[in-house]
Every structure is written in C-alpha cells, then in structure tokens.
C-alpha cells in the first residue's frame, strides 16, 4: 500500500530564528561566565588572565541574549506574565527565573571587577563614577562569582532541558541535547575568547595557548558528545537517534548537514592541533574563530529550525523560507551587528593595562 498526501496543511515554525540567536548568545554567555568564575576561585595567573577576555565575551553576549529571547515571543509586550504567573512545572518558566539570577551575577561581578581595575589604574572621565567612593566592594565579589556560576549552570541545564522534554519532536528528546548544547557553547565562547585575546586585547602568547588548548578540549568533547549520543542511541534504540537515521536515510538535506558537521568539526580539530605546535600557529589561531562560531551557530540552526521543518505526522519536509524582515534575515544580522558593536566598545573598558589584575589585587586586599 502506498500513500500520497493530497490535502494536508503545512505547519509553520513556532520558534523563529530569534530562538537560534538566543540559544547561541546565552550559551556563550554562560560558558564564558564559567571561565570567569573559575578565574575567581582557582589560583594561578593564567586562569586569572583569562578573565578579561572571558568577561568581554560573557558580558557582550549576555546583554544581547535577552533581547533575542524577548523578540522570539509573538507577544513580547506581555513578557511580564512570566513574573506575574510563575509556573513551577514549566521549564520555560523556570528559565525566566534563572536568567535574571545569572544576569545579576554576571553584571554584578563585572561591575566590581571593573571597579577594582578603575581604582587601580584610573577610569576614563566619563566612567569616573564607576570608581568613586572609598568602598572597594571586592569582598562581595566571590559571592557574585558564586551567583554567576550557579546561574550559568542553571542556564545550561534549563535551555537544554526545555528542548529535551519535547517528546513530540523526536530528535530533541534526548538527554544528550543538554550535553551537546553546552559543549558546543563552550566551543563557541572559547573561539570568541581566542579571537578577543589575539585581535582585541593583544594577550600574551602563553595566555592564548591556554585558550587554544581549552578550545581543542571543547572540540574533542563535542565530538565525544556526538558519538555518545549516537552510540547510546544505537544501543538503546533512542527515539532521537532513530529519528536522525530516518532523516539521513530519506533526505539529502540531512545528509549534507551530517557530512558538513563531521567535516567542519574534524577540520577545526586538525587545524587547532596543528596551530598548537608552534608559537606562530598559536598567534594565528584566531583565524579559526569565525568558522567555530559559525559551526556552533549552525548546530543551533539545525536543532531548532531544521527540526521544526520535520512534520510530526505528515510525510516529507515542510519548506522553510527565511523571511527577509525582522523575523528572519534582518533579525539575525541585527543581533550580530549589535553584538559586534558591544564587542568594539567593551574591551576598551574591560581591558586592564596589565598593571593590576583585579583578582590578584583583591587577594592582596584580602591577605594584606
């Protein structure tokens, strides 16, 4: 018996490209914030010198992510309903509580970190208020770092779970969704840190080496995450992996997605390992950043947008044409434009000129 669809409606996407932007930016913000937090608590100058570029990445992505989230609502003006009607059984509602906690930790930490730099090195006139007064505020910093770390973990868990619990989208319905979103987010934020160090902050080669090593680690972990999902899916017959096999078997588009992922992931790894061998290579490794960012972004596009074009009941794939306006191309470019703008302004503020490092100076305060 063969069946042909004659009259069937097409289901439109309910989550717009804004959702891809949100997942991309907030994942980077959370993972970069984790690196900032590690620098707060782990001794060793290298980790502390990673803080400035990681803060640049965390703050620049963190302030834009909520805008993309808001724009993904079809009724953005009603966002306050999230707080007037808190819904403890909904992952998305939980996320609406976690996000401000994370933002408070991140921005609060940044304000104090910056204050230490400004007090030690002097602030530009237009920011002199930032350093004003006698109170150093540094005693609060570990606490804010704690809030930031908990918030960042919360962001990674909730964004992954929110997608993972949707049984109706078989591909999403796997615990590996949480793991693999987090690992690719690490990959993206480390790529952005490599870039920030090399092109914006002119960091020492030794510091760049640490970041590049972490980037390689994130790439290997991402690959392991993908293999873990596939192997465990194969053994347990998970719905997610079965759905993937069906798509790859039936649709050329998904075969291309699969082949590109393997090629880009493998290529990035080989190139990064090659560059790690020599100081010259390390200094040039920022070349990899755009491709790594594109890879992490495309993973989110495939997960969120391409999966929405897989019918839940019908045959074939629904076509999706990217609109040119704010719910499509313009929105995507606008978010990236905004990010670039923040990225250009922020390092000039965050970069301490090397004389004093806030975390070290805080320890001096604490120990002295």
């Amino acid at each position: 018996m063969s069946i042909a669809e004659i009259i069937v409606p097409q289901q439109e996407v309910a989550w717009l490209p804004w959702a891809v932007q949100y997942f991309f930016l907030v994942g980077m913000a959370a993972t970069a914030a984790i690196l900032v937090g590690v620098g707060e608590f782990v001794r060793g100058g290298r980790w502390q010198r990673l803080q400035a570029p990681a803060l640049v990445v965390a703050v620049s992505t963190g302030v834009i992510a909520p805008i993309a989230l808001l724009a993904d609502l079809h009724q953005p003006g009603r966002f306050y309903h999230f707080y007037t009607d808190i819904t403890p059984w909904s992952w998305m509602s939980l996320g609406a509580l976690i996000l401000p906690v994370f933002m408070t930790g991140l921005l609060g930490y940044w304000v104090l970190w910056q204050r230490a730099v400004f007090r030690a090195e002097g602030a530009p006139r237009w920011l002199s208020l930032w350093a004003a007064g006698n109170w150093s505020g540094q005693a609060l910093r570990p606490w804010l770092a704690g809030v930031m770390l908990m918030g960042a973990l919360g962001i990674l868990v909730y964004t992954g779970s929110e997608v993972m619990i949707v049984k109706a989208r078989a591909l999403w319905h796997t615990e590996w969704m949480i793991v693999n979103l987090a690992l690719t987010a690490f990959m993206a934020s480390l790529a952005a840190i490599v870039f920030t160090q090399a092109r914006i902050l002119s960091a020492a080669p030794g510091d760049q080496r640490l970041t590049l090593r972490l980037f390689v680690l994130a790439l290997i972990a991402t690959g392991a995450g993908a293999v873990g999902w596939a192997v465990s899916g194969w053994i347990n017959g998970s719905v997610s992996f079965q759905a993937f096999l069906r798509l790859v078997e039936q649709f050329a588009y998904w075969r291309i997605v699969f082949a590109l992922s393997v090629a880009v992931g493998g290529g990035l790894l080989m190139a990064a390992l090659w560059m790690l061998r020599t100081p010259r290579g390390v200094a040039r490794s920022w070349w990899l950043a755009p491709l790594a960012l594109l890879a992490a972004w495309s993973f989110r596009w495939a997960v969120l947008m391409d999966v929405q074009s897989v019918p839940k009941y019908g045959a074939g794939l629904y076509p999706y044409h990217l609109p040119l306006g704010s719910d499509g191309l313009l929105g995507i470019l606008g978010v990236f434009g905004l990010w670039l703008a923040v990225l250009m302004v922020l390092p000039g503020i965050i970069a301490n000129r090397g004389a004093v490092h806030p975390t070290q100076s805080m320890r001096e305060v604490a120990h002295g």
Partner: protein, 254 residues
C-alpha cells in the same frame, strides 16, 4: 493484534465503561507534570468519535469552523486531510479522508510546558487557551505531537480547537459536528453511559483507534474505520507545497 493496538483497546474499553477520566492527583506538580485541572463540569468528560466510513471529504466542517472561530485565512482549527492510497498489487486507488483537530488529550503534553498558565485542561477534559494571557512563546505548539496548535497570525497567540466550548456551554453542538454532512462527527459525554458517543464507540469496539497511542497522550478523539497506516506518521509521498501570501497553505497534487 499488535501491542499498541491492544493497549489502546484496553483504553477504549475503559472509555466505554465510562471511567475515561483519570483524575490527576491535586498534589503539587513536578517539572513537566500535569498541573491540576481548572474549571468546567467535573462530572463530564467530552470526547469525539469520527466515523471515517461516513466522511466524504467535503470540508463542510473546515468551513463552518472557520466561520465560527474566525482563524486567519490559511490557518485551521480543524481540516480534513486527504490522501490517495494505492494498493500495490492491484494498483487500485482510493481516497482516504482524515478529519483532524485537537484531540483534547487526557495527558496533554501541550499544557505543562506553558510558562504562564495560559493553556490548561478543564475538568470536563477540554484543553483551552486564554488568549489574553498567552505570551505567544510557541512552546505548546512544539509540544503537541499532532500539530493541532498554531500561532494565530492575527492575534499572535496560540490557537487551537476547543470543541467549540462556548457553543457546548450554550447547549449547542460544535460547528463542525453540526455541519457534518455525513454525520461522521459525534461529540458527547464519555462519563454518561447512555450517551450517543458511548453507544457508537461500543458498537464499533474493535474498530476504534487513536493517533500515536504510544506517546501516552491519551487522545479523546476516536477514529472509527481507520487503516493502521494512519496511526503513526504517514510513510509516503508528501504533498507539493505552494506558497500563498499567508505563508504556505496546503499541498495539492494529483
């Protein structure tokens, strides 16, 4: 008889025995658990039977629903899917009609995901949306395995069939049921052992099916006379889509 079918018939038996509603404990709902039901008559459990043998695919239900509920052009709370089925041996073809709407599931995955409690299940089983409360996040649209929900282009909030609850409460039949030419759609109270729907379901006891029973959503739209091939995702040739200015409405090839 395969397992899912046997499981389902077990459920159908429960339905016909009039104990369809499994009252969820009012205990606090954990993450992604069903929250307590709100409003509606706790003594009733609405359901619909659709006798495919009586459906002629005229789309009278589609039209009357659109007139009654006024979704934007190109969006539907109910529509009759149409398929061409060919027997590979004899090469004979037949048209299959499949009216689709919200299943008013007894374990509706669309409800617990909602971050602002804008959609919930009433005690009579009907799943409703408060269009003033909905923030249009689209999460429920993702969570429904039946593509029964959509974001309404005009209101920008979640929209779906609600069994014409406003008509039911006024003692009227849903628009689709009232207009059904072949009498294929039967709505009624599953808690009432003498209701028309219960009689129809027990008369066709061996031939009652629901869509995707393995997902444990416990749909309360029951199909009579449906080929097994339509229980799960259609394995076949997809319709050709063409775009309308309203975002791509339907496929039509023949």
């Amino acid at each position: 008889m395969d397992v899912s079918r046997r499981q389902f018939l077990g459920k159908a038996a429960a339905v016909t025995a009039g104990v369809a509603v499994m009252p969820l404990s009012e205990a606090e709902a954990g993450l992604n658990d069903q929250p307590p039901r709100r409003g509606g008559d706790p003594n009733k459990r609405y359901g619909m039977a659709i006798d495919l043998r009586r459906c002629i695919g005229c789309q009278a239900c589609t039209v009357s629903c659109s007139i009654e509920n006024q979704p934007p052009v190109g969006q539907f709370r109910t529509i009759v899917h149409q398929y061409e089925v060919t027997d590979n041996a004899s090469e004979e073809t037949a048209a299959v009609m499949l009216p689709r709407l919200c299943n008013q599931c007894d374990n509706p995955p669309c409800v617990p995901v909602c971050p602002v409690q804008a959609t919930w299940q009433r005690k009579d089983g009907i799943v409703v949306v408060d269009s003033d409360q909905c923030v249009g996040c689209g999460y429920c649209v993702q969570a429904c395995p039946y593509d029964a929900r959509f974001i309404n282009h005009e209101t920008q909030v979640a929209d779906k069939c609600n069994f014409c609850v406003h008509r039911l409460e006024a003692g009227l039949l849903p628009a689709c049921v009232e207009s059904c030419v072949g009498g294929a759609r039967i709505i009624g109270d599953l808690n009432d052992p003498d209701s028309h729907i219960n009689r129809v379901l027990s008369e066709n006891y061996d031939d009652v099916k629901v869509l995707k029973p393995e997902l444990n959503t416990r749909p309360h739209v029951f199909y009579i006379g449906m080929t097994d091939a339509f229980i799960e995702r259609i394995q076949g040739e997809s319709g050709l889509w063409f775009d309308s200015e309203h975002g791509g409405v339907m496929g039509a090839v023949s």
